[in-house]
Structure formats: structure tokens, C-alpha cells
Amino acid sequence: MIELILSERCIACGTCAKVCPDDVLRTDAAGEPVIAHKEDCQTCYLCELFCPVDALYVSPRTAPDPTVDAAALIAAGLVGSYRRELGWARGRPGGTETDLSYRMHEAFTEPFGEIWKRSGI
């Protein structure tokens, strides 16, 4: 579930509220993002990807996470970790071209692994 909006980082661009598929995030009268309906959060991490400044943290727990500690998460490099793993930056996509998923497909039990080895175009 969405747990943190780090106000010291947030530039109030409104993107997270725009892209959240479940209408969890909204902007208030001052344009600052707020968690309006936490119970609707589907733990998809997508708001994190679109945030240009890594100001959001979603816990992998689908129930509220009492262990979340902003300073510790930042120190551990976990805020923004998903977008870095994907290769996204400043709220924009990147990294698809280095996706190594073909290795999973080629590892399927034969003959299907062989079929995937022939699936380059």
C-alpha cells in the first residue's frame, strides 16, 4: 500500500494523482498530493514510476505497513528502487530494450524452450 509522500522532495507536479488508476491519490487546494483513499490502493507501484523526484513509497504489503520508516528506507536506497531497476527516470519509461525475459522463456521445458529460441524477429 501507498505509505509515504515525502513532502521535502515533492515538487507538487500532480502527476501521481493524475496516473493513479484507483483514485487513491488526489491533489489538495494547494496542489499538494494527498492520500485520499488508502484502502483503494492496489499496491501497483505505478505512482512511484511516474514521480519525477522519487517522492513516493509504496510498501509491498497489501495491508497497511506499520514498519515503514522514511529515513531508514532512504538510507537503504529503497525509495525509487523499482523505477531504477526498470530503468525509468524522471517519470519517463526506459530500460525495455535491456529486458532479459527471453532467458525465462528459453528455459521452458522442451520443446517449448526451443520454440522460444526461434522466436526472434
Binding site: V19, T43, F50, S59, R61, E85, T98, D99, L100, Y102
Partner: protein, 530 residues
Amino acid sequence: MSESTLHLTADVLVIGGGPAGCWAALAARRAGASVVLAEKGYVGTSGATPPANTTLFYTVPGDRLQNDGMVDHRVAPAKGFIVRDFVRRVYDETTVNTELMTRWGYPWPRNETGKTFRGNLRGPDYMIFLRKRLLAEGVRILDHSPALELLTADGVAAGAAGITRRTGDRWEVRAGAVVVATGGCAFRSGVVGTHNLTGDGYLLAAEAGARFSGMEFSGQWALAPAEGGLTKGIIYFSGSFSDADGTPIPHPGVPDALAAGRSVHAVLDRADPYLEDGYRKGQPNIFVYFHRLGGNPFTDRYPVRLLYEGTVRAAGGLDVDERCATSVPGLYAVGDATTREKLTGAAMSGGGPAVAWCIASGTWAGQAATAFARQFAAGTAGLAGRPVHAIGGAGLRPAANPDPERTAEAVTRAVQQEILPLDRNYRRTGAGIAAALERLDGLWEAARDGLAPPAGATPRDIVRAREAAALVATARWILASAGQRTETRGLHRRADFPGLDPAQHHHLLSGGLDRVWVRRADPHEEAVAA
């Protein structure tokens, strides 16, 4: 609340902006139609695909071995209904459209031979790419705008009406044809990506008289780490399972162990470093859980749970013909909202076929809907001037006095209590189905009569009430169909009929609102029997 209504007309209205809806909108636009796409959430992040990443099946032109291998791969697990020639057409159409993506600049990864590999669509990248393409082609996107009901003109689908979640403003789109692309229904079980997938499209189509096929093939349960909701299954090809004491459990035995209340742990101990790198650099979404909460899934056992996905990446859904037309004139359906029995039989459609079907069905429906819409002139002489009726009922317009006890939350919880408990639903019994149906029939009547957004309702309340009605209706089509199939086949499991009965290689069509009906239909003449 001060509300206004946005009035639009379009040749084609698409409801739902997952991959199937996006491809339908693109195909209609490219065929010359004006197109509006209304999405409950946000096109690019909503639906099952963006958080998941999806394996895609396709045919490589000119490679017979590859083509036959792709098509044949799901024939045995299908347990009937699958039609090879149809599957082939779906994968061929997929390849044609991935070529379009190449032309539009999609950054495909490459395999060891240096060729483009199209077998994995990274969810957020793919969906944002499609969003940009929709805008470039001139599709009008309405984000955060759930459709609540269909408009019809003399029994022909003629548009839809809905609400804008942020403002409470209403919208009404009059259209020459409507494409339902609202995905499957996972009953708010907690599966990541399915929060918006509440069967809305089924309900609004059924109100116009549309029917379903294969709703009993919806016993799609998937593994997630015990505290998480991401149900990516591909890692378990490299996994081993054990109980609390470390006693091994074979993979096929995992659901029954969990249904019996045993704790089950997984570890991905069958991946070598090369493959581990493939998982980590292909599906980073899976590993956020472990990165953030601790533990290495390749070496450390972790507890898992099963979550219900319902008709998402399962088999049952709206019954459509080869052009993706429903039984209602002017109404088309695509992707997870439809039956996928000819594609993957009674088994799950995920893992490659499902998203190929989104591309193919979207393309075919977009083209067919455009052709259908050509009969209507523009302006008040045609589309805008047709006398239309808004036909939504339950959850929107209560048939009797609103009952304050019938809140959307209470109705949703009551449906979930019938459909989500693993022990009663992984394998069902005839008696269990009958008892659940009786309770759900009562719930339907109460919801139809009394479920309404409360006084001073927010847009969220209005949407929730309609979603709750859709959940009740969907559960009834599923269970009524499950009661009529006295065997175990694919995603339909009966504890009282554990074997497959070759005499039951027939489809079960279903439909109806106040009175749910189920009847048999012959499989396609070329369908491969189990």
C-alpha cells in the same frame, strides 16, 4: 453537488483502456472512425497489464516449426474447445500488430542471436506506449471516467453514460457502435492490477441482452507472497514448495494444501545464475517485495498464499463471434471481457495467449465496429439525433425504495463471502453451489430493489454501488454455470465430480438478470476434444 454533463458523439465508443481497449480504439481510428475511449482509471496504468508484465505468443513469419509449436503448446492443457486454425489467426494478427509497434518506435529487447524478442511486454512501458499512440492517432481519451450504463436505440447499442470520478460530472457518448473492453472480474480479491475489474462491462452488456459462455471456467487462483498481491506465476517454473516443517509439496498439490489450511513455502531453487539474471532483469516487479521486505527468494523459503483472479486471464466471458460481435447489435467485446474457450479451452488464457487475444480481438472488433457505425450519418440527422434510452438498473436506479442497509460495501462483502473462500471454491460441490446461489439470488433482489448511492453521494459512492451490483450478477453467472457442469475440466473443479466426462464437451451459455439461465451449445466443429 453541482454537476454538468459532457455530451460527445463518436463513431465508436470503447469502454475500458487496457490493452484490448487500446487496440480496439487504434484499429477503429485507423479504419477511419472517430473514437472515444472511456476508462475507469487512467489509460496506461489501469487494468491487469501495467503492474504485471505479460508474456506474448506470436508467430514468426515463415518458420513452420515455430508457428506449429506456438499453436500446439496449449492444445493438451485446454481440455477441449480449442480451435487450432483460430489460434493461428490470433497469433498471426498479433505479429502483424507488433510490426506496427516496431514502426511506431517500440524499443524491443533482443535475444542472444541479436534479433528482436517480442515475447515479453513490460507492462507500464507497453501501456504508456499505447497511450501515446492513441493520442497521436487522435483518439479522445476520457480518464477516470467509468461507464455506468449503456444507451440503446431500438435494441441496438448506441453509446454509454458514466461519471467523472474527480468532479462528479456526468458524461454521455452517443456512438454508432460500442466496444466492451472492461477486462475480467476478480471480485476485489486483492490481486494487484484488478482493483477496477469488477464485472461492470458484463452487467451493462447483460442489461442489453448479451450472453456469456464458459463462466464456469473461472477458477483461476494464483500464488502471491503471503503479504503481497502480485500474482506473477512464471517464477514457479523454477520453484519448489514445502510445508512449515520443510516437507516437500509437489507443485500441483499446492492449492489443495492451502485450501486445507496448511502453510506453504516457496523457494526458487531451480534457477541457475544465468536464469536468475533473466528473472531479475526481466521482471523487476516481482522482486520489489523481497528487496524491500528482505529475503532472497532464490535461496530463502518464503510463505505464499493463493488469490482469486476470477475471469481475469481465465476462460469465461461475453460470447462473441469471429468479428467479436456480441449477440446485441452494435455491441462488441474484446480481451478478458470475452470467452477465450476457442483460444485456450477450459484452461487459463494467461501466460501468452491472453494478451495476444487482446491485440487480435481489439483489432478485429475495432474494424467491425467501424463498419457497423458507417450506417449512421453524423450530426443530428444520424448519431446525435437517435432517440436513445439509458438502460442501467441495479445499483444505479433501485427498483423500489433505497434501503440504507444495502450499502455497496455490505453487498460487496456478501458476494466475497460466497466466492472468495478457497476451501469452498477451489473445488466446489453441487450442494455448496446451490446454497450459495440461493443466497446470491436473494442478494440480487435486495440489491436490485434497494442498493443505491446514499444521499449526498460522492462520485466514489456512485461507482461503488454499481460495481457491487456487477459483482453480484457476475457471481451468479459463474455459479449457475458451475452447477450445470457435473465434471472437472480445466479451471472448473468439482469435488463431487473429480473426473473429466468426455460427454460434456459442450459450451455452457448463460445470461439473464432477475432469472439467470444456462444452456448448452455445441463446440466449434473443428474444436479439439480433451
